[in-house]
């Protein structure tokens, strides 16, 4: 043990040579990370949108829905994967089911809050002018709820990007793969390098996605920025 620790002291902290030798691997893991995230957030959004519509139409359903998704949210991801393993095995499905279940609470809350936040006079004038319920939802309520909804998507995305790393334990992981491997080699600088690479890339991806979504929101809602009365 002391020998191992002594080795750690003597090696350089970060091994750039490792990075350059493994660029292909890093790229593969990037693709894996992005794909897992994309699928999880998209599927999560579709499910959340459906459940939100139910909750909006039948207000009494909102409490049970948030209760159920809240439980899924509170259960640690590792535990959730542990439950899914005997059922769906070491597959992408296991990973995705786990990841998707963490997005539901956030997305449902934000979709419902966004729609609820539409001013009632806007809704009344829309109905009064002859909008059908369906068109009103698609043309008036959803677009006006967009800022809050996108805020939810941002949080969900960043959260999922973090959780994807945990899927390293069931054979995936994206950048988490490097973190896990780095842990196994903790006594060497290659180990620490991989931990750092995995971490930095994860954070970079999360920040980029967050900023990208923020920019998308700004582009989609030009009306939200104009404020000065003429």
């Amino acid at each position: 043990m002391m020998l191992l620790l002594a080795q750690v002291e003597s090696q350089p902290f970060f091994r750039w040579d490792w990075v350059f030798r493994n660029l292909d691997d890093i790229w593969d893991r990037t693709v894996e990370h992005v794909m897992l995230t994309l699928i999880a957030v998209t599927v999560g959004f579709v499910i959340s949108l459906g459940l939100s519509l139910v909750a909006i139409r039948w207000r009494r359903a909102y409490s049970p829905i948030t209760w159920a998704t809240g439980i899924m949210y509170t259960i640690p991801s590792l535990a959730l994967f542990a439950f899914l393993l005997p059922i769906t095995g070491l597959s992408v499905l296991t990973a995705e089911i786990g990841l998707v279940s963490y997005t539901l609470l956030i997305l449902i809350r934000n979709i419902v809050a966004g729609v609820d936040g539409v001013p009632p006079d806007v809704l009344e004038s829309a109905t009064g002018m002859g909008y059908t319920a369906r068109r009103r939802f698609l043309e008036i309520e959803l677009p006006l709820a967009l800022p809050v909804i996108i805020a939810g998507i941002r949080i969900a995305s960043v959260t999922v990007i973090g959780l994807v790393t945990v899927t390293a334990l069931i054979g995936f992981g994206g950048y988490g793969f490097f973190i896990l491997r780095g842990l196994g080699l903790f006594y060497s600088s290659i180990g620490t390098t991989q931990i750092i690479v995995g971490t930095v890339l994860s954070v970079t991806l999360a920040v980029s996605v967050d900023l990208g979504l923020a920019a998308t929101e700004r582009a989609l809602t030009p009306w939200a920025r104009k404020k000065v009365p003429a």
Binding site: I71, T74, L78, L163, T192, T199, A206
Partner: protein
């Protein structure tokens, strides 16, 4: 499936799993102890400055930024990063990297939500209090903190659950806790142990959440609104 659940039940009824270092009581206790220690330490460090800054209406940007930045760092990464750090600091494996990681994990949400709680106290209340002649300190102690206390408890609730969840990963840095069952189970391909571990961790997390919720509701001063539900980081 039924067969599998039967095996899991058998695991739970096997007395061997209830004794010794790797027994459920020990692992559960380890897990609870560590989570409590890390969260308490984080609370002691994060709550006072949060309350102080919020009272003086300073540092709002820091409050918002800290959670947003922290959310971008995966919990798994935080645990992993502290291993080499701990070693270089001469603190070794097991306890220290786990404790430090969980500590730094818990600080941002506790800080931000405590700040938001105090800053969000209805200004009409503080104005009225000052108008009645209360000193700054009195306003803080008698108005702001009590009114914000449900939100501070909520902050602790969210942070503790995250800590409990992340602690399950700490088995990877040679620590114990309930994550031991899951990680060891993965290594030995013992899906029963994995599942059982999952149940224990989930139970602990849900129970903790429930207890905190009850406390939240109890200490909500009568007449004030609902507690906050700010979720910042997901359980790892």
């Amino acid at each position: 499936m039924i067969e599998f659940l039967g095996e899991v039940a058998a695991w739970f009824t096997d007395p061997a799993n209830w004794t010794g270092i790797n027994g459920i009581p020990n692992r559960m206790w380890e897990h609870i102890q560590m989570s409590a220690a890390a969260t308490t330490a984080a609370a002691l460090v994060a709550i006072p400055p949060a309350v102080y800054l919020a009272h003086h209406r300073r540092g709002g940007v820091l409050a918002v930024a800290s959670v947003n930045v922290a959310r971008a760092v995966p919990s798994f990464a935080i645990v992993a990063v502290f291993l080499p750090i701990s070693i270089r600091l001469g603190l070794g494996l097991g306890f220290w990297p786990t404790f430090l990681a969980l500590f730094f994990l818990a600080v941002p949400p506790i800080f931000t939500n405590s700040y938001t709680g105090v800053a969000g106290v209805d200004p009409a209340l503080t104005e009225a209090a000052r108008g009645m002649g209360m000193t700054d300190g009195q306003v803080l102690r008698r108005i702001e903190v009590p009114v914000a206390s449900p939100l501070i408890i909520a902050a602790l609730r969210v942070a503790t659950v995250q800590v409990i969840a992340t602690a399950t990963l700490a088995a990877l840095v040679a620590w114990g806790g309930l994550g031991r069952y899951i990680i060891d189970g993965f290594a030995t391909q013992d899906s029963v142990e994995v599942f059982a571990g999952g149940l224990l961790v989930a139970a602990l997390a849900l129970a903790t959440d429930a207890v905190f919720s009850i406390v939240e509701r109890r200490i909500t001063p009568r007449g004030t609104g609902t507690a906050a539900d700010d979720v910042t980081r997901v359980a790892a």
